[in-house]
């Protein structure tokens, strides 16, 4: 595939993610911060976000699996997850976290369980598109460096 075609595909993907509400303007901020001096910035942030999120989702699953739920700990993790999703521009994940926080404040176990499922659903949808995005970015970067040699 030509460089132009790759770029086009990436643009179409990212635009569709905005339209579907997966991403918000914060993601545009990240894109703006990427430049020649830090070409891998967006990829780095996305990778950190995914690592962070998966770790927290694992902890949240464990916590909600207990007979007696420690809502303070749950709230702390949801707060963190909400923060990271907000920082990366992961709109749907962030909104799901806000819902989750609500149930947590009410000490509502059923609500928390369903909210956790929603967060997971949103996160994994986003994650698969992020994976595609990163692959396209990599191929574009490789092309660019090839061109320069």
């Amino acid at each position: 595939m030509s460089l132009m075609a790759l770029r086009e595909r990436l643009n179409v993907l990212v635009n569709s993610m905005f339209l579907e509400g997966l991403l918000d303007q914060q993601f545009r901020q990240l894109q703006m911060l990427q430049d020649a001096s830090s070409p891998g910035f967006v990829a780095e942030v996305i990778t950190l976000f995914c690592e962070d999120s998966e770790r927290m989702l694992t902890e949240l699953t464990k916590l909600l699996d207990q007979a007696v739920v420690d809502y303070q700990k749950v709230d702390a993790y949801v707060h963190q997850l909400k923060g990271s999703s907000s920082s990366v521009g992961a709109q749907n994940v962030k909104l799901a976290c806000i819902q989750f926080k609500q149930f947590c404040e009410e000490n509502n176990k059923e609500g928390c369980l369903s909210a956790l499922n929603m967060v997971k659903h949103q996160y994994y949808s986003l994650r698969s598109k992020f994976d595609t995005m990163l692959q396209l970015e990599q191929r574009i970067q490789a092309y660019d460096s090839e061109q320069q040699n």
Partner: protein, 188 residues
């Protein structure tokens, strides 16, 4: 393209989230600041040359491992020492009190914001911090530098803090308004 020679100021960024550290680092570097990013308040104090065990009143000349910091930007919610605790420690230290401190938080809680402003924070940024927020840092640094040369004007500060407080209460922070505007400029 004209290149304006500007002093490179050094900002100490404090955040327990690795992701947010990367982000603030990039925002600061893009805005021509030198950055040191640490993951806790206690680490920040080490960098500032004020370790937990030492009293701030001990007259010490800058330690060999101490770097000059022109501004501290810190997250509010951190385990152990919060951003507010760090702020108080800095403002309570004779050697560090003139360093401007900015607090960041993902939550818009007026009482929290007020507490920080009253504690001596220059400004409070709502997360996610934007590139445009970086422009607000330099004036605080320059003001801080001139303060070092002038005697403290305690009365003026408390007047301006209470007017900022009134502002914080009155302003309805809509989704569009993500930062508190402080007019500290009346101090100059």
């Amino acid at each position: 393209m004209a290149v304006v020679a500007e002093a490179q100021f050094h900002v100490l960024a404090v955040d327990d989230s690795l992701m947010d550290r990367k982000l603030i680092e990039r925002l600061l570097k893009t805005s021509s600041f030198q950055v040191t990013a640490v993951d806790s308040g206690s680490r920040a104090l080490e960098v500032l040359g004020l370790s937990e065990g030492l009293t701030s009143s001990s007259a010490v000349s800058p330690a060999h491992n101490e770097i000059e910091v022109n501004l501290v930007i810190t997250d509010y919610c951190m385990p152990g020492m919060t951003g507010y605790d760090l702020l108080k420690k800095i403002k309570g230290s004779s050697s560090l009190k003139d360093i401007p401190v900015v607090i960041m938080s993902s939550e818009n809680v007026p009482s929290r914001i007020n507490r920080c402003l009253e504690g001596g924070a220059e400004e409070f940024f709502l997360k996610p911090v934007q590139l445009s927020d970086m422009k607000r840092l330099r004036p605080h640094i320059l003001k801080g530098k001139s303060k070092e040369q002038q005697p403290q004007e305690e009365e003026t500060s408390s007047t301006s803090i209470s007017s900022n407080k009134r502002k914080a209460m009155d302003e309805e922070l809509s989704p569009e308004r993500r930062r508190l505007k402080l007019s500290n400029y009346s101090l100059i």
